[in-house]
């Protein structure tokens, strides 16, 4: 039996898709709730990057940009060497929900991980999306 390949999580946000879109796709937005510093070239194939004070940085590649409904990127897998070509794919889907937004994040590609790294990465990202989406909601609510 293979590993689960996918993580999916949906949250209801009390803000319209345009605001959620800006939080997900701008350097200012990403640096406020996800990284501590961020830059992004928002077009398919564009590079993006987030970094933290401890020196950790993650390189991303923008894949889908369908404002304000779908934003997708691939990113490095933390437990593999920086030059390893394997990536997971993250896709955000924004649907209007009354005055707010129903935001779904799906991350796929975990099945390609070696067995020794799989559990840590899969569990880490499962917890990670729960806390990151909480931080996103906190960031949007605070403004």
């Amino acid at each position: 039996m293979g590993f689960p390949d996918r993580i999916e999580r949906t949250v209801a946000l009390a803000h319209p898709p345009a605001r959620v879109w800006a939080a997900l796709t701008t350097a200012e937005g990403l640096a406020a709730w996800f990284g501590e510093e961020a830059d992004i070239d928002l077009r398919p194939g564009g590079a993006a990057r987030m970094r933290w004070a401890s020196g950790y940085a993650v390189e991303m590649r923008v894949e889908r940009v369908e404002e304000p409904a779908v934003f997708g990127f691939t990113w490095q897998i933390e437990e593999l060497p920086d030059d390893d070509p394997r990536r997971t794919y993250v896709e955000f889907t924004l649907e209007p929900d009354g005055a707010g937004t129903r935001l779904t994040v799906v991350e796929t590609g975990f099945a390609q991980l070696p067995e020794d790294a799989y559990r840590k990465v899969y569990d880490g990202h499962t917890q990670g999306w729960a806390s990151e989406l909480g931080e996103l909601a906190g960031y949007l609510d605070a403004r």
Partner: protein, 111 residues
Amino acid sequence: MPDDIEVIAEQVFTALADPSRRAILAALASGGPATATDLAARLPITRQAIAKHLGLLTDAGLVTAEPGERRRIRYRLRSAPMKVAQQFLAALARDWDSPLDALKEHLDRGA
């Protein structure tokens, strides 16, 4: 860094509410200063999560980054906010203890 005792205590309790952050603090307490990479190798926590948690722990004043080049930065435990939280708990324990003692005395007298 906050100096208000309530603010410090709240940050300490928020930091300790997360099992990954407790594991990071425990690793720094038992193993001494460590880089984010060392911690990720020792704990079942990804590098990205370690980076996020270290940011929060630094803001709470529970760890401090030693000067150094990126990726080589070592984090060290700071016990000062922990002591503040300890005082906070001690004060609460005192407030609870006296009514409980009075109750016990009352019940003992009635027995």
